[in-house]
């Protein structure tokens, strides 16, 4: 990668894109934006960032490429396997015990790696697992059949990858390893198939899964959620935008619902957000 885009160049790019395309990149972490822009400029063989801006004005498809690059997916499936083990063993059984028809929201789902990870956990739900949850009075059917999953992202191309279940070949080994470490009960390869030179999700997503587009910052939906997966997405936002999105998510979460952030996302300020961390500091919070 060549040298990172400078502060002045960055400002110019943000202003031009705002003015010409109405897209507000100022909500993003400047450090993150610099890296993504530099990566795109390097990939296109451009020597100077100014060339990218000029080309974008002449060829607007380049803006879609930038949006695609900005909408970075998680690095692999079941990233931070210990978190997914907690989702498998605590979060989902709790929802299974206490919610009739829970809703999961994955804003910024990008290429769908977290969505696919969640789908596998739902498929592997053990019958009666929720009975281990204290004070659960109900005998319920499997969560997979009654959980609505709403996935949204700001790149339509990434959403399409999520719909089609495309997985880059280079992540396959990590996906397998992470799956096993997260308590995976079978063979990860059971869930994927090779198609030409890439891999694809083999199994269907849960029947109540839907996809939708969103802006750079997810807007407040009209429905409520019981689980929000927003892992390593706050990293991509500046501090103010991150706070704004946390407010949106908190307003969307029902009390007793769960928010799963990235392992090293900044702790939400307890004075500002009604979130209580689950123990083990895995980035999982309960809405109080």
């Amino acid at each position: 990668m060549q040298r990172l885009v400078s502060q002045i160049e960055l400002r110019h790019i943000v202003q031009t894109i705002r003015k010409k395309f109405g897209l507000e990149l100022g909500v993003l972490s400047q450090a993150h934006l610099r890296v993504v822009l530099t990566g795109l400029i390097t990939e296109k063989g451009m020597r100077y960032p100014d060339i990218l801006v000029q080309r974008m004005l002449d060829y607007p498809y380049l803006l879609q490429e930038l949006i695609y690059e900005l909408d970075q997916p998680e690095s692999e499936m079941f990233r931070d396997p210990e978190v997914w083990m907690q989702i498998r063993n605590v979060v989902l059984p709790t929802l299974a015990a206490w919610r009739d028809e829970p809703t999961a929201w994955i804003p910024g789902c990008s290429s769908g790696y977290d969505l696919f990870s969640l789908a596998i956990l739902l498929q592997e739900e053990e019958p009666g697992a929720h009975k281990g949850i204290k004070r659960s009075p109900f005998n319920r059917s499997r969560l997979e059949s009654r959980m609505t999953i709403r996935a949204s992202s700001f790149s339509s191309e990434r959403l399409e990858e999520a719909r089609r279940g495309i997985l880059p070949a280079q992540t396959l080994e990590w996906n397998r390893s992470n799956y096993a470490l997260s308590g995976g009960r079978g063979d990860f390869d059971h869930y994927v198939e090779k198609v030409d030179t890439s891999w694809r999700r083999k199994n269907r997503l849960p029947g109540l899964t839907s996809f939708g587009e969103q802006g750079l910052l997810p807007g407040r939906p009209v429905w409520k959620a019981d689980l929000v997966l927003f892992r390593n997405r706050l990293l991509q936002l500046n501090r103010e935008a991150a706070g704004q999105v946390l407010h949106t998510i908190c307003d969307t979460l029902r009390p007793g619902g769960f928010l799963v952030l990235g392992f090293l996302d900044r702790y939400p300020d307890p004075d500002r957000f009604p979130l209580k961390p689950l123990k083990n500091k895995l980035g999982i919070y309960e809405r109080i």
Binding site: S29, G39, Q72, S75
Partner: protein, 194 residues
């Protein structure tokens, strides 16, 4: 390095991979008590092994050692260890930014990204140190630090356990210093002594 160059150092970034941990440990334990420059240690790490490095370093020094969270401020005298499976970047307001961007030279954390980011923000105030390692990560970062007016130190390849990383840097740029291990340690200690 003359006194004015010493004074301008506001951030040290140490990059390394295989064969570098011993020097890093010695470097940290050798820091004078009043050493107040923040020091970032960017070592290639196994993805799913989160524990171990931080605890080991904490064990050998009373100094504050931590893996920064996203948007944490850079604090004087603190040793920062880049977290496993994240890139560590700097913002203009002197806070950390973590990133899960794709790997660079098959590495995340990437030494290049940390050094390039630090150079953009701290400019002449960065001292980049590149140690032993098995790939070319860090070479472009060191070049950027030099181009932005910072200071650069590469471990002498004949002294490095694995010379690939220092050699890659030397192919790309001319550092201010090429030192063996002992000289690197005393150089950093003396950085503050003046």
């Amino acid at each position: 390095m003359n006194e004015s160059e010493h004074k301008k150092i506001r951030l040290i970034v140490v990059g390394g991979s295989a064969g570098s941990f011993r020097i890093v440990s010695r470097l940290i334990t050798g820091l004078p008590e009043t050493f107040d420059v923040p020091l970032i240690v960017c070592l290639h790490r196994l993805k799913n092994i989160k524990a171990g490095m931080l605890e080991t370093i904490r064990h050998i020094t009373p100094r504050e050692v931590r893996e920064p969270r996203d948007k944490d401020p850079v604090e004087p005298g603190t040793v920062y260890v880049t977290p496993s499976n994240y890139h560590l970047l700097l913002e203009e307001n002197l806070t950390f930014a973590l990133s899960t961007y794709r790997t660079i030279h098959h590495s995340r954390p990437s030494i290049d990204l940390t050094m390039q980011s630090a150079a953009q923000v701290y400019r002449a105030g960065v001292l980049g140190i590149l140690l032993s390692g098995a790939n070319s990560d860090g070479a472009a970062g060191m070049r950027t630090i030099r181009l932005m007016g910072g200071s650069t130190l590469v471990q002498d390849p004949v002294d490095a356990e694995i010379a690939s990383m220092p050699n890659a840097a030397l192919k790309l740029m001319q550092p201010d210093y090429i030192f063996r291990e002992e000289k690197i340690i005393t150089f950093i200690q003396n950085l503050h002594a003046r």
